[in-house]
Symmetry: C2
Subunit: 354 residues, 2 copies
DNA sequence: ATGAAAGCGCTAACAT
DNA sequence: ATGTTAGCGCTTTCAT
């Protein structure tokens, strides 16, 4: 393999335009103190030669790396990929994050880190040392990992925390977990449901509790009790199965269940089927993920659509903005979720069998 | 934002171990001519200080960038992401590619480039100049884009071509499109089907033709005619719908259809439904993608499972190997696909209605 | 087997 | 408004 060198460097441009390196650098970085005519001349040389700055060199000289790291949980991400069950978290993150990065000349690098490991810190530190990213996006459950947050806080590198309400450092962005749980609950209550069950997600995710909060609040608002209506899973199908079974086999089963993710919603559907409960006539179900397969279930599932792409995009924006010296907003940014109505919710009292 | 500097550099390690920079560099890169005791001493300092080399600096001094670019078609990738229909190409690519990269200390960067644009070259050149990747993975339809291949060939940068039989430069890897089309066709023929329709994909993808070749060959082997049994779509649902309709509304409709991707298979299912054809009793269907939703269709679709992850992994391996001075194998690497049996294929003569 | 010097492409800091 | 100088962290020469 040949020793790879930059084809066209800033020197070539400088020579071609008959100016100093510095002037070229100023033009590249859109800095002031360059006369328009000069700027144009340089730009022409850049275009003519097809010059593109080397990110490595830029980074070396203490400038930006134009790299943003998207930190995901290794175990869960790989499991999702292998399972091939249509979870498109990463895709949506790339859709929002990559495209926003591209707009600003940045690249997004997906990095998998194991939350559970005792060497999370080392892994992250290594990634930072190797890549020198200009920003980091923490996704759940990393977003509220105190070790990571503390570590990043000490590194003066801007980081966004998706799905966090942000106590501590970093730029918190939430997809309004509490609000959307509340909305889903209200949605059901308005349709006459009085016993609305909730299957919570793993407590390792802070958002799990917020969703429960939203449900609790909406139930209270509607004057409905919650006794015996809350079960906790861990986002897996199996755990959803257990939770749904407990809910539905109780003496006073719910007429509707909100599941904290798609796998648990799927499991709920299956348990209902096994119990000869028709969805939605006998049981209404709302999923907290609008992953692709929600279209294809029987019946198609009404779901809360979390704006993952919009959130990732916003995270990138915030990071880049805080790069530019703007002091971080620090306030919680909330991107609203919405309910996608499909066929898994009935109005109460249930329709008579046709 | 503070001027970011490397926390621990090679200098710190050298000082700590009481050796020259060079020796540390040799240890990092596993070069010869370091005494074991020396090597160990240096390694201890590295571990103690938590030193990780800066990729930017390594790249600057003419060494590797430890970056591999995965080039995907912009338009199609974004469309897939937005549609949220469970296409997990990118996920599988990351699963195979990223993990293999990680094993070797590389990172994979997903890059979107528009095949149709007249500035493909410029886009790719810009990415190369900016990132100086050590290798590039071309995915369809880029893999056989002559412009791209020519451009890369002139850049002495190793590149893999997924889904290509590789005329010209680069490392070709195929998922055995012809073989798996042949296998699927045989699979149907063995079950008594005599009129086996085929919906081809866009001719912009070379693999589309190879799949047709496989089907044609298998039909010939089985002594079956192909007249009126081939329709061409472009991988979209709408095109699949049109193709399936032409096939099924003909005077001599097929008893089985192989669709070149999941969307066209889905469309075929829907057309069958609209024509009151039961699947699989009246019509058998095999999809050429085993994307997540194939589990959830009615009935679940038998599909060809393309080993995308394994292929991406292999592509990374080949690139890294060819880095290490090994002259490229140049031969076509084939990763075998397999058929996942689900519920959309009936044996012929069709089972009587139960 | 080890070390010293030079330089990669770029920008920050300091002239002018 | 523009140019000069020094240096980022590392690897490549080229010594020894």
């Amino acid at each position: 393999m040949a020793r790879r060198r930059q084809a066209v460097t800033i020197k070539h441009v400088a020579a071609d335009a008959g100016v100093s390196l510095q002037t070229v650098s100023r033009v590249i970085n859109n800095e002031p103190n360059v006369r328009p005519e000069m700027k144009q001349r340089v730009q022409e040389s850049i275009d003519k030669l097809g010059y593109v700055p080397s990110i490595a060199a830029q980074r070396m000289s203490g400038s930006r790396s134009y790299l943003i790291l998207a930190l995901n949980d290794r175990e869960r991400t790989i499991a999702d990929w292998r399972a091939r069950q249509g979870t498109d978290w990463v895709d949506q993150m790339l859709l929002g994050g990559m495209l926003k990065c591209a707009e600003h000349g940045y690249r997004m690098i997906v990095e998998l880190v194991d939350t559970h490991s005792d060497h999370v810190e080392r892994e992250l530190l290594a990634a930072i040392a190797a890549l020198q990213p200009d920003g980091i996006i923490l996704t759940p459950p990393h977003s509220d990992n105190p070790q990571l947050v503390r570590l990043l806080a000490g590194h003066d590198i801007p980081f966004a925390r998706i799905g966090s309400k942000g106590d501590g450092a970093g730029l918190p962005i939430s997809m309004d977990d509490e609000g959307s749980a509340r909305a889903a609950t209200r949605y059901l209550a308005e349709r006459g449901h009085r016993r609305i069950g909730f299957i919570a997600g793993s407590s390792e995710y802070n958002l799990s509790a917020w969703r429960v909060d939203g449900w609790t609040a909406a139930m209270a608002e509607a004057g409905l009790g919650t006794a015996g209506l809350l079960e906790t899973g861990d986002f897996t199908y199996a755990s959803g199965e257990r939770a749904a079974r407990r809910l539905l086999e109780s003496s006073e089963p719910p007429s509707a269940i909100i599941a904290s993710n798609d796998q648990m919603a799927l499991a709920t559907l299956e348990v209902a089927r096994s119990l000869d409960l028709r969805v939605p006539q006998d049981l209404s179900v709302i999923s907290f993920d609008n992953s692709p397969l929600m279209h294809f279930t029987q019946p198609p599932l009404t779901a809360i659509d979390q704006p993952i792409a919009a959130t990732a995009s916003k995270a990138v924006e915030m990071i880049i903005a805080s790069q530019s010296g703007e002091s971080a907003p620090k306030l919680l940014t909330v991107i609203a979720a919405s309910i996608v109505e499909r066929g898994s919710v009935a109005s109460f009292p249930p329709q008579p069998v046709r």
